[in-house]
Structure formats: structure tokens, C-alpha cells
Amino acid sequence: MSTTLLKAGSNLERILSDGRFGVTGECGPPKNADGGVIEEKAKILKGYVDAVNVTDNQTAVVRTCSLVASHIAQLNGVEAVMQMTCRDRNRLAMQADILGAVALGVRNILCLTGDHISFGNHPKAKGVHDLDSMALIRMFKAMRDERRFECGEEIDSAVPLYIGCAENPFGDPLEFRALRLKKKVEAGADFVQTQSIFNIPRFKAWMEEVRALGLHQEVKILAGVTPIKSAGMVTYMGRSVPGMDVPQEIIDRIAAKEKGEPQREEGKRLAVEMIKELAEVEGVAGVHVMAIEWESAIPEIVETAGLMPRPAVT
Amino acid sequence: MSDDAPRAGSTVADLPAEGAPAVPANEGFEPEIIVFACHYCAYAAADLAGSMRLQYPPNIRMIKLPCTGKLEVIHVLKALEAGADGVYAAGCLEGQCHYLEGNLWARKRVNHVKTLLEELGMDPERVDMFNMSSAMGPEFAQRARDFTERIRQLGPNPVRPRDGFEPAEVVRARMGDIALPETDAGADEDLTPTVAPAAEEGPER
């Protein structure tokens, strides 16, 4: 057990601080008021992940808010990584929500810019963007370490948070990506989860730059892996999701199988291979498995990748 | 909405969708057509057609311009507002405009008028542009015949008054000096404007 002073004491933080290989999953809240959906997803993931990301109006589509869904997940035995975007909230709402989250026992927060409002189901809404993700990280860090609101006023309670950010090793401008992570680390990021990786050589090149900057020692990097459900899905991701790099060999490999169960099995197999390979990359502290609307695949993948049992830390 | 009886040779589908015309189609409708013709090519072609004794319909009212590039959107709209059933610009072949690109601008403007006609629920086929050289007398005549027939099929302009209307005069009044007096002068007459001597210094507008 490490004696590093912990910032929030969350399960995820303890495991990563201890130098163990971390595993996070992801779950999307439902497009309705049925908390039971989150309960079910939590039950599937319990014991197979160290924490689960709970998305925040992902792709600008309205779903049960991450704050509440994170709480429900935690009530059902799985630690949450609450997500917050800059698109739907101004700095007042962000700070108010994080106070509420901490009051409910949420400790991990992922600070995101958020997909643009035009992507979602309410394109006529006003995208807020009062802050960007860099400022969001800083703001939460100040709340935690200086006990100060963004306006400078004191907060008279602790605000324990384990602060995360996202990074896309494949976005433009490429040469800036490692430097952008540096800027986020300087702003206060404790951990980072990357965008889904399909192009491992390119990811390794990015990690080289990251290591050259010494960032892997200052922040815990979790490599993003998305198990592929079908050739159609991975083709769509490569073509239509901004910032994704999907090599043709990957698409071909999945497409070579029959649609349905054979492609899904191959997708899971590929995910396990990638996790094993990424775990060997120096500086990678864990893996973030994003099984979009396929949470049921996570236990099998985590198990087959040899990552079970998950550490139980006190 | 009046009851438009089908004309001979047409089907119900050919009837204009533009609303009740002031002049019902079965009363021997004769289209009023305004043609904006450029001095260097189209007007000369028209002259040639005349001297070759090639017939073209008397429905055509010609307005001579130095170049179709002088044609503005408002001129075409005014012609239609005044009741003209069809309007077309006739200019040089593309690439051979005496003023280089005037005919290209004219086509853009004619196309824009087509979109305005769609906004108004009028058939965009009522306006068009044709290109020809000064030697193309027969083509000029054929175009005039074809367009007149097109307009005859489309029926009268929905806003055409019952009688006593002179769309060409309305357009000339609006165009002012841009519209040239009709003469027999051929393409030898160079209309390129000379630079006027500098005016006395005076107050800016």
C-alpha cells in the first residue's frame, strides 16, 4: 500500500497511485427517467472495473444527468467517474454540481469540452461554453487544493476530487497533442483517458513524445479501447467520428467475419489483443474500455485480458 | 379560380400552376415577349434574319443593349410585372462577348430571376438566355419561334392585364439610357464608350 498522500481517496486513485494497472469502463445513462437502467449496468460491471465513467449528455443527446447516474452507480457497488462537459453548464452550475456530487460521495470527475451542440438532438439549443476544459480542470483543482470558488471566495468544506481529462492522440494539430496534455497536467489533471485507440503504432509514437516530456510520471494515462461490435460500426467510427484514426486492416479484419455474433467475437478478441499490447507500453497506467451500449462485453474482455481479479484496496 | 378549359394539343398537366390568368387560355392568347439583345451579336443576328427573310413571330419586342451584361435583375422583373409573358436575353456565344464577360453575368442574373420566379409560384421557364454569334440569323429566328411556342404552352402571365399594356415601354422607361435606340447599325459600329473629359472639381455627393 503506497503512502502517497491521496487527493480524494477514491478506489481508482488508490489503485493507480499504488502503481497497479487500472481498469475503467463506461456506461451511458438512459434517455429516460428510469434509474433501473443504470442499476442494471452497474451490476454487470461490478467487480470487473475499478471505476465506471458515467457520460454527460454524450454527443449532445439528452440523457439522465451524470451526477445522478454516478450516484446510482455508486449505490450499486461500482465507483463512478462522473463526466462533465463545458457545453451545457456555466461555471456556476459546474461548481454547484460538483459540490453536490462530492456531497453524494462521488470523487472522480472527468473534465471534457463536449461534442458540439449541433451533433445532438437539440441542435437549436444554445451551447454554453462559458469555460473550456482547461479552465474546468483548473477550477476544480482550486476548489480542492485552495478551497476557493472560481470567483475567489472561500469554500468552507473539503472538496475531495480526483481530476481527470481526456486527450486525443490523433487530433489536429498532431504535433501539439503531447503539449496539450502537458498543458492539462499543468492545469491540474491527475489522470487522463485517451480517445479510442485503433492505430497502436501512432499511439506509441504519441507516448514517446509524452514520455519525453516526463508527463507519464505526473499523470496517470489510461489508454482508450473500444471493442468493435460490427464492421458497420467501426467503418462509421473511422469515417464520421471526428479525430478517430481507424486503420483499414482493422475494418477488414472484422469485415472478414460474418455479421452478427462472429463479428462481435472478433471485436472482443481484437480488444483483448489491444489491451495486452497497450499494457506493455511504458507510461500506460491502465485501460479505459468504452463498450458503447455493450457494457455486457466488458466482464468477458477484462477477464480474457487477464486483468481479473480487480484489486481490492482499503 | 376560373375553370381553365384545356387547349388543343395540351393535357390538363400542361395547364399553368400559377393561378387564374387574367386572359383565359382559350381566348386566342398571343404571348408578349421581351427580348434583350446585345448590339454585337444577337441584335445583328436578328437583323440578318430579317434580311434573309426568315420569319420570326411578331410577339417578340426587341430591346437593344450594348451588352447583355447591362441587363439587371430588376429589368426582367419589371417586364414581368408589367405583364410580359416571357423574357429572354440574347447575347454573344460564351467566350466571345465583346465586353469579355458581360454575357456570363447576364446568365447569372437570368438564373437568379428564375429562383425569384419560383418564390413567386411562377414558372421559371418564362425567362431564359440564349447565346449566338452575329452570323446566326437562322438560329435567332428559330429561338424566337421556339420560345414563343414555349410561352404559348405555358399560358399568359398570371399578372397580365386584360388590355392596354406595353411591357416594352415600361422596361425602356426603367432602363433609361442603357436601352439603345433601335437602328440598323451592324456590329461595325463600335459602342465602346470613350472616356469623358474630367469634370470640374465639384462637391462630393
Binding site: R91, T113, G114, H116, R138, G171, F176, P242, G243 | -
Partner: protein, 227 residues
């Protein structure tokens, strides 16, 4: 300059319902330059309305006029007599001009025939691109003369998001056209200037109270006020 785009013709025409005469008023500054609402466009719109009214067999007098600028009282004086003769004015000026007309000639009904859409720059003839949203707190000195508030779809202050690809924003323009990633442009120009360090400095959140978010703004130059 301020750019505007003519509203759909049906919307404009429906504004004339119930009136028997209407004046279309153009403005010969910004909206004339962006080819949407100058005297020329006012005459064209007036002709269109007239044609439509005739189609419906409706008695409607339509005239057009234009002021050099509809946003200045003195220029509105020059068309006051004309305006006085009509119960309805369709103004093709920008929102400033329309409101000035509505105020000067109140309670006469003045309707907008255009949608004022941006502070735009004519990138090339007849193409305008949004460049400024008048945030009241200009910081483009830090971003190589490129405004991230309006040219970045998410108004990011600290570099690009993860969605930039091939130099383009993840957001596609309203007519399907690609949008350049402002932060890629900023980065490239900072490099060309040898000022990369500006990219790594942290920019704190913007003070939106200086923008229209803080309420409608007013500017006064005391030194120029009448004695």
C-alpha cells in the same frame, strides 16, 4: 461589416397582410455592400411583392426607397416624408437600422425584411465569413490575430479540442461546408511568428460580463459630447 440575408419571400409577403400599401426601405451602407438590402435589392423586393399581389388580384401599392444609413437620425430625416405616406415599412437594413426606423417613426409598423446574421468579412466577392461577435474584450493579440471566441465553434481559449481533423473543425457549416479549426490556424501562425509560447500559456475563462451576455451595452465619449 454587418451582414444580413433577406428573409424567405413568403415570410416577407405575409407581413403585408391586411395592408393596402407598403414601403420597402433599403439601406445603402452595410446591407448594400453585402448585396442584401441596398436600394437595388429594395427595388427588386418591391417588384416581387407587387407581382405577387397582382397574382392574387389584390390591390397593394408598393414603393421602394433607401437611406444612406438607416441607423442615423439625420439620414432617416431624408426619407421621412416618403415613410410618412405608408402604414407599413419593410426595412431591409440591419437590426440596428430597423430599430432606428421603428423608433423614429413610431408607432408606425416597421418590419424586418432581412435577418441580420453576423459581423462578416468578405473573404472573396460575394462570400462572407463571420469574424467577430463583439465580445467587448478582444484578446486576438494572444492568438495571432485569429479570434477563437467566434472562429472556434466552442469558443475554446486554450487550444483545440479532440475533434479537429485535417485542419478542420468537427462541426460542419450550416450548408455542409467545412470549417477550418481556428486553433490549428492559430498554432500555424504562432509558429510562423516564432511565438509558440503563447500556445502554452493558460488563458483564464473569459469575462462574459463585457459581452452582450451582461446586458445591452452603451458607449459614451464624454470628450465628444456637446458642451
Amino acid at each position: 461589416m454587418i451582414t444580413a440575408d433577406r428573409k424567405p419571400f413568403e415570410d416577407i409577403y405575409s407581413m403585408t397582410e391586411g395592408y393596402d400599401s407598403v414601403l420597402v426601405a433599403g439601406c445603402d451602407t452595410c446591407v448594400a455592400i453585402c448585396l442584401s438590402g441596398g436600394e437595388k435589392e429594395a427595388e427588386i423586393l418591391a417588384s416581387e411583392i407587387s407581382i405577387k399581389a397582382k397574382q392574387e388580384g389584390r390591390e397593394l401599392t408598393v414603393e421602394h426607397t433607401a437611406a444612406i444609413r438607416q441607423c442615423e437620425w439625420e439620414y432617416l430625416d431624408t426619407i421621412a416624408d416618403t415613410v410618412g405616406g405608408f402604414p407599413l415599412v419593410l426595412s431591409m437594413a440591419c437590426g440596428i437600422g430597423i430599430q432606428s426606423m421603428a423608433e423614429k417613426f413610431a408607432p408606425k409598423v416597421v418590419m424586418p425584411a432581412v435577418d441580420t446574421n453576423m459581423l462578416g468579412m468578405p473573404q472573396e466577392h460575394a462570400v462572407w465569413l463571420e469574424r467577430c461577435i463583439a465580445c467587448g474584450d478582444c484578446m486576438i493579440g494572444l492568438t495571432a490575430g485569429i479570434c477563437p471566441v467566434v472562429r472556434c465553434s466552442k469558443s475554446l481559449m486554450n487550444g483545440p479540442c479532440g475533434g479537429a481533423h485535417d485542419g478542420l473543425c468537427e462541426v460542419v457549416g450550416r450548408n455542409g461546408e467545412p470549417i477550418e479549426c481556428a486553433w490549428v490556424l492559430i498554432w500555424e501562425r504562432l509558429k510562423a511568428q516564432g511565438r509558440e509560447e503563447l500556445m502554452f500559456q493558460y488563458r483564464p475563462p473569459k469575462d462574459w460580463s463585457k459581452s452582450s451576455s451582461g446586458g445591452p451595452r452603451k458607449m459614451v465619449r464624454e470628450d465628444a459630447r456637446p458642451v
